[in-house]
């Protein structure tokens, strides 16, 4: 039997979800440059590492679509064609960016400005409403370590970390022992508010089953009750008054509370108004005790995309450069809305798969126009693209910076080389910018 030679890399950051765990151990086969073992990662994070190994789904060379089939081309040819498409477009859309690192994101901003295009990231369809609400009423937040060490009341509202952020519970919010929470789970009271009896709800101390899309009314009632107002109602959003009173009492009497909210709150009817009400509730609870909240960000660097876009343009997402300077207006310049109104004429999708997530009608319009994809794997989006740029996976095959859900920047590590001719997202965008400048004579 031939001995396998392995290289072990420790303290690896997991580039999958916003929890951005930083304690993974990865074994790489030295000869094959493939990942053979991951330790400490959860199931979904581990899967992402294994997906970087060469497979039938992994792109290794640039491709251009011709007569409905793809042909492999040189990088030069692909850049040339992509530059031509983007330069001739009057309203190009640049979308994605949340599953890549910050340097690539800032190159995206540069490209959007150069083209006079529209720049958007996946917050547009996940926590964009949180950002809107934060702009309206601010947000009392902290870092995850604070919650781990101090929180004795943890509320998951419209979020299901058991499935979406599996190690969040173990690292920050439930079982973990904290400095002031020495007894771990026993020192914390867990509340889940959700229309479904989720797996997170099943490990909670109190589960409040609410009618779908009626979160606003419940938050609104709780706010009034925290102020000592007696309400006329007997039941709100399907929750009996007695139970709401119990919850209000729990909220007011904890030492340190936190609401972790997810897309159940941002993407049900009322969107940003739900978050507005949740933030206002947290603000008002600080008259009684210490209370904070935190969005459960999905893509590992969607927080980074918002931060990078904001420090470059002033705005976190849905940015229009058509007049040469950035303008911001979700609803007007957000990708789904633009596509629904069929307002674009070319697109560049970076590290994202809108075809799987956007409404069908908008995807149809996306496919109507030239589409360029920068993506390591075959996805419904990249399979329908006119040009595929094969990308190295940030955080596995190249370094970079990512922001955790609590806005803490963490340096991603490289554990192995990318297969074939892959370049990093940043290199691809840089070369594309160069090519476009050259063609425009700038």
């Amino acid at each position: 039997m031939v001995e396998r030679k392995l290289r072990t890399i420790s303290d690896v950051i997991c580039p999958f979800c916003g929890t951005l765990c930083d304690d993974l151990e990865v074994d790489v086969d030295i000869k094959e440059e493939t990942i053979v073992e991951i330790r400490n990662g959860c199931q979904i994070g581990t899967k992402k590492f294994f997906s970087s190994n060469p497979s039938g789904h992994r792109y290794t060379k640039p491709r251009i679509k011709e007569n409905d089939s793809f042909k492999e081309v040189s990088w030069d040819e692909a850049f040339d064609k992509a530059a031509e498409i983007l330069i001739s477009a009057k309203r190009p859309l640049l979308y994605g960016f949340s599953s890549t690192e910050c340097e690539a994101q800032s190159k995206g901003v540069e490209l959007a400005e150069l083209l006079g295009g529209i720049l958007d990231n996946t917050a547009s369809v996940c926590h964009g409403p949180s950002l809107l609400a934060i702009q309206d009423v601010g947000a009392p937040m902290a870092t995850l370590g604070d919650f781990k060490n101090r929180a004795d009341l943890v509320i998951f509202w419209g979020s299901n970390p058991v499935h979406a952020h599996p190690r969040h519970l173990g690292r920050y919010s439930e079982f973990v022992r904290g400095y002031f929470r020495k007894d771990g789970r026993n020192d914390r009271f867990i509340v889940v508010v959700d229309p479904r009896n989720t797996h997170t709800a099943q490990i909670a101390d109190l589960f409040i089953q609410i009618k779908p899309s009626e979160d606003y009314e419940l938050l609104n009632a709780i706010r009034a009750m925290v102020r000592g107002v007696e309400l006329d109602e007997k039941e709100i959003s399907g929750v009996p008054m007695e139970k709401i009173k119990e919850l209000v009492n729990i909220l007011k009497t904890c030492n340190f509370g936190v609401i972790f909210f997810g897309m159940g709150l941002t993407q049900s009817l009322a969107h940003h108004r739900n978050i507005d009400a949740a933030i206002s509730l947290v603000r008002e609870l600080n008259d009684h005790t210490k209370f904070l909240l935190m969005p459960m960000r999905g893509h590992y660097n969607v927080t980074g995309a918002n931060i990078v876009f904001a420090w470059n343009t002033g705005y976190a997402y849905s940015i229009d450069f058509s007049k040469g300077y950035p303008r911001y207006n979700p609803g007007e310049f957000s990708s789904v809305d633009l596509l629904m109104r069929d307002e674009i004429d070319a697109s560049l999708i970076v590290a994202s798969d809108p075809a799987s997530n956007f409404p069908a009608a908008s995807v149809k319009n996306l496919f109507k126009h030239p589409l360029i994809s920068i993506e390591p794997h075959e996805t419904p989006t990249s399979a329908n693209a006119d040009i595929n740029f094969p990308a190295a996976i940030a955080g596995i095959e190249c370094e970079g910076t990512a922001y955790r859900m609590d806005s803490v920047p963490i340096r991603l590590r490289k554990v192995k080389d990318a297969p074939g001719k892959c370049l990093s997202d940043k290199e691809i965008l840089e070369k594309l910018i160069e090519k476009i400048k050259e063609k425009k004579g700038e």
């Binding site: 009057k90 309203r91 083209l115 006079g116 295009g117 809107l132 702009q135 309206d136 606003y216 009314e217 609104n220 009632a221 706010r223 009034a224 102020r227 000592g228 107002v229 309400l231 006329d232 109602e233 709100i236 009817l269 009322a270 108004r273 507005d276 009400a277 206002s280 450069f321 058509s322 007049k323 911001y328 207006n329 979700p330 609803g331 007007e332 307002e343 004429d345």
Partner: protein, 269 residues
């Protein structure tokens, strides 16, 4: 009044950004100069003459009347920041019509898209058809939206209309919205705006209202629990001196903002 006529020659592929179409910009200009005013089409610079035929004559701001014909549903920002004069739009119009206007009058003989009359500071905007979302609303992140003026919509207004409206008693500014019916979250974060809905209204009217008056003459799909019933009234006084009569239930709120609220919500009994 002197009149300028614009007629759309061809439909734009992308939205045209037409903030240059205001009496303020047209006043005192020759037809040639008006034709050269900028219009953005995607990332392309075009001019009014590329898309519109222009005829007539302009005067000073307050007696310039602009009449626009054609399907303008993809033309945005007509009447942005206008301070006087009149615009008549014969057809549907795109987003942001009359946003930030401080005086004069706009009449839309058709439907208007989102953000009609957003951040209105004065003047009058009348829409004969339906209007989109965010009628008379504050733009993203603004704490003070519509501060004065009147918006009248015959049909329906969409979500979050009159968001963050703000009146001022010392300055005698009373923002008003009249509409046929309304979508959810009407008058959210209201700080003194007055809203009269002739027909029905969707959920959460007056959410986070600190002060102001909302009158709904039809039904409400779901009233917020934080509004408390005061009693029945037969007459409602509006801050502009108008009186509304009928049978209404009077509620105070939104009590999620404060325990003692001066905000009022009236729903037909």
């Amino acid at each position: 009044m002197t009149e300028i006529k614009l007629k759309l020659k061809k439909l734009p592929k992308f939205p045209l950004e037409a903030e240059s179409i205001t009496p303020d910009n047209f006043a005192g200009k020759t037809l040639d100069a008006i034709k050269k005013l900028p219009l953005y089409h995607g990332n392309e610079n075009t001019v009014i003459g590329d898309y519109f035929s222009v005829s007539g004559k302009s005067g000073n701001v307050n007696n310039t009347k602009i009449v626009i014909d054609g399907d303008l549903s993809n033309v945005k920002r007509i009447g942005e920041q206008m301070s006087g004069g009149e615009i008549i739009i014969n057809g549907n119009v795109g987003m942001h019509v009359g946003n930030n206007m401080s005086g004069g009058k706009i009449l839309v003989n058709g439907n208007a898209d989102d953000w009609a009359g957003a951040m209105l500071q004065g003047g009058e905007l009348e829409i004969i058809g339906d209007a989109g979302h965010y009628v008379g609303a504050a733009y993203r992140g603004n704490w003070q939206g519509m501060k004065n003026g009147v918006i009248k919509v015959k049909g329906k207004v969409g979500n979050e209309s009159m968001l963050w409206a703000r009146s001022s008693k010392p300055a005698n500014r009373w923002p008003m919205l009249y509409c046929g019916s309304a979508g959810p979250f009407l008058g959210t974060h209201n700080h003194g705006g007055t809203i009269v809905v002739e027909g029905d209204c969707d959920r959460c009217a007056g959410a986070d209202q600190a002060r102001g008056i909302i009158v709904i003459k039809g039904k409400v799909s779901r009233k917020l629990p934080s509004f408390k019933r005061i009693g029945e009234v037969k007459e409602i006084d509006l801050p502009n001196g108008e009186k509304i009569t009928g049978k209404f239930i009077e509620y105070s709120g939104d009590h999620s903002v404060s325990k003692e609220s001066t905000g009022k919500l009236y729903i037909a009994a």
